[in-house]
Point group: C2
Chain length 205, copies 2
Amino acid sequence: MFSLSDAEGSVSASELGRSLGVSTPSVSSMVRKLAALDLVAYVKYQPLKLTASGRKAAALVIRKHRLTEMFLVEKMGFGWEEVHVIAEQVEHVKSPAFFARMDKLLGYPTVDPHGSPIPSPEGTITDLRKHQKLSDRQPGEKVRIVGLAHSSNDFLLYLNERGIALKTALTILRREIYDGSLTVNYDDKKDVVLSKVVADKLLVE
Amino acid sequence: MFSLSDAEGSVSASELGRSLGVSTPSVSSMVRKLAALDLVAYVKYQPLKLTASGRKAAALVIRKHRLTEMFLVEKMGFGWEEVHVIAEQVEHVKSPAFFARMDKLLGYPTVDPHGSPIPSPEGTITDLRKHQKLSDRQPGEKVRIVGLAHSSNDFLLYLNERGIALKTALTILRREIYDGSLTVNYDDKKDVVLSKVVADKLLVE
DNA sequence: TTATAAAGTTAGACTAGTCTAACTTTAAAT
DNA sequence: ATTTAAAGTTAGACTAGTCTAACTTTATAA
């Protein structure tokens, strides 16, 4: 629910069911159990919303997920495209000490390997929207990649092939009016063309 | 089943149920499902036994458990008394790559932090019974601790308090005929008395 | 303003896993 | 060899979670 929520924090039952691989009646029945636990604000026939404590619970799971991803990359040598599926399993571990130790060994990181913020132990999550899209920057500017708006496997592999990662410094050379694609330089690469679709998903500062 | 098996590789349904916190009818019904998967050799009213493939499946779970325990101690700084409960959760992670990476980072260890053997990736498990108990050794002998016959939390804390760990070298000074207790020296400790109960559980070479 | 399509809910069936109570088998003891 | 207590199994009920089909509500659009 947390990750599917729109700007108002709402999800439709059907969208949730689709994403969970479950029918809408199943969503209905589960959501009412979550409402009984005060995790979901449930109003019949209305879009679903998490309560404050639901959002906190979600943030704490996301915290475990992202700490794990960071640990897998930094301490175990996995690639950023490999860690999501592993972390989805490890995040179910109950032991707070386990994640506290990861946090400490990592030096209390604030973002995961894809640049997404790691919620605090209290369940506070900083908003990523303060970052700007690469596609909004102008030719001539020099920017640094600090996050990804989405991080599907295909996208991560696309970036790997081009040697683009967090902290890569890009110089914007040109923008095509027609399709919004950008031509950029970075590291030892010259005149690399990135489509608008890609530039929209690269967050920079 | 694997860990409760006696010398003949058998467990009673009631013992299994007790250890799992489940009634005997539940054991019955699960065991028949495992028999359908050829993991358990099931004969009505007879003690339960794993099949060869059941033993292999069990060994592979134990492998994940013990690799995790070793990783928690060696790479994450946990104490040997803390790792069992965490590893019980982490062992459920599916990703073979995750455990393969632990194995590699640990340098392919053969025993866990309690001296118990780590099964091979093929599911072969070496027998610990080749080790001798401390209680079978004679006064005057010098021995090294290489394993524990059991590793309950209480026992591990008992050993922590006395500074006894794997690889501790002991000199046996005296054995009491009456209760079988041993007096030993090790490190900078002198004349430490270990009861027969303790000496039975310390495996040495 | 009403009709209608899309979304959500209720009803009822099914499965997996658990339980207790009643019954059967095994094996230990007279 | 027979009795009997312990262990195991079967029967049947219950819960949680899922589904499809039928029904209700919402909101869009004529």
